[in-house]
Symmetry: C2
Subunit: 265 residues, 2 copies
């Protein structure tokens, strides 16, 4: 399969311009999955709930969804992106996957970071795993990387590739995702944004560094820290199916859950 | 507290010479905990079970234990090291902790790596956490790093510092232990060996790179890849007690165990 990292530089609260700009980056790329960052059309640095409301869409509906669904249908491909999801009175920091036949599913971020907690409700269901023609993909969003249980849970439920839209402001995630791939013997694709965003009293500087990692912890691609940039990486998800590590070990078979006492302090 | 990394270069099946050589490295160092590698007096590359039997000691007994217990008593300090443990007819790849008042406890490695499975029984209990005068320490051994549940379980049970004797032959552990410290907001100390060891048809080349990592993922020390070497690192385990990450997050409070579905494939 071919995965396109689409590392964008969205402008705050300009979803239509951001959508046009992302589609212009995606247009020349030939891929089976196009992966975009977290909250990549609305912008990230919300200051008031009204700004979330103004840019939110219900899962599987809305202007952004329709444009990406049309792209997916035309290309016979999948697109994964982060957006503010409207669900009744609530908003979630969500990521959707759309394919040739329409909406595959939407994941609501379980671990909200920092001021996201002021604007979004935490996700209300486990992260999903989807069976696609080229293999099984799991979704997680940005700060979910910090919790090893997330990637582990997705891998134990069969995910061979993590699609991981992000808006990274801390330096550690790109290296930590190498550990997530290694420890679960899966591919991981993190798509971050670049640029600096100020709204109200808050400024965020994003680190780019979007990347794809193999099940053996090899960096198959890593983009720069400053620029809008894309890469198409080709790999075979079959490499994530065996958890064998040499002649004597199997990473999932060797787990000893009875000894992973989790009693809280 | 002050922790001494004692990165040695043991010779296969020469426990007495290896002990003398380690004590000579430890002698000039002033520390509260002296951390040594896995299987650091027997050597690592066993070819026959008789070799394990010839170098094994029961937990809390034997020539190696007695010498390190005497050192701990004299220095009013703790020593942690890896050794082949004899328990009736079985052998474990174990690590002991001894302090001023004698044997604190012994951990039997839960995740055996590669040909270790030919000579050792897998550990039969969770990894331990000990309450010491300067804070709480958890024990894990080498390949345990690959399983995120190990460090997580130790941290959730209160460990503020991981003592991690190792014999590293793969390149990934030093970087991955930075992730282990970050994701659990704890100190970790990994003590590896150096050198090349051949026995029978098997050769291992060890990567050194012993290190101490802070709860924020800072490398407080990292030794070289080739030489016997020591370092004493001073830090305060209080820094591992709060799991706060900024104003809005608490790494343990934010966990969502109901959503960490672990159903096997």
């Amino acid at each position: 399969m071919r995965l396109a990292l689409v590392q964008t530089a969205p402008r705050m609260l300009e979803p239509r311009a951001n959508l046009e700009s992302a589609l212009a980056l995606m247009e020349p790329l030939a891929a089976d999955v196009y992966l975009l960052p977290e909250l990549c059309f609305s912008g990230y640095t919300f200051d008031r709930k009204e700004e979330v409301a103004a840019t939110a869409e219900p899962a599987g509906e809305g202007e952004v969804f329709d444009a990406l669904a049309a792209f997916a249908r035309e290309r016979q491909a999948y697109v994964c992106w982060g957006f503010p999801e409207r669900a009744g009175e609530r908003f979630y920091n969500s990521a959707s996957l759309v394919g040739p036949d329409g909406h595959v599913g939407t994941y609501r971020k379980v671990h909200l970071f920092s001021r996201e907690t002021l604007f979004f409700s935490p996700g209300d269901a486990p992260a999903p795993v989807y069976d696609l023609p080229f293999g099984r993909v799991g979704l997680m969003i940005c700060f979910d990387w910090f919790f090893p249980e997330m990637a582990r849970s997705l891998a134990l439920r069969g995910a061979e590739l993590l699609l991981h839209p992000a808006n990274l402001v801390l330096p550690h995630c790109p290296q930590a995702m190498i550990t997530r791939s290694l420890e679960n013997r899966i591919f991981s694709a993190t798509c971050d944004r670049v640029g600096t965003e100020t709204n109200g009293a808050t400024t965020h500087r994003f680190i780019g560094s979007s990347q794809v990692v193999s099940p053996r912890g090899e960096l198959l691609a890593r983009l720069g820290r400053e620029q809008q940039e894309t890469a198409v990486v080709e790999f075979d998800l079959a490499a994530a199916r065996s958890k064998r590590l040499g002649e004597y070990n199997d990473l999932f078979g060797d787990r000893r859950p009875n000894f992973y006492a989790l009693a809280s302090r």
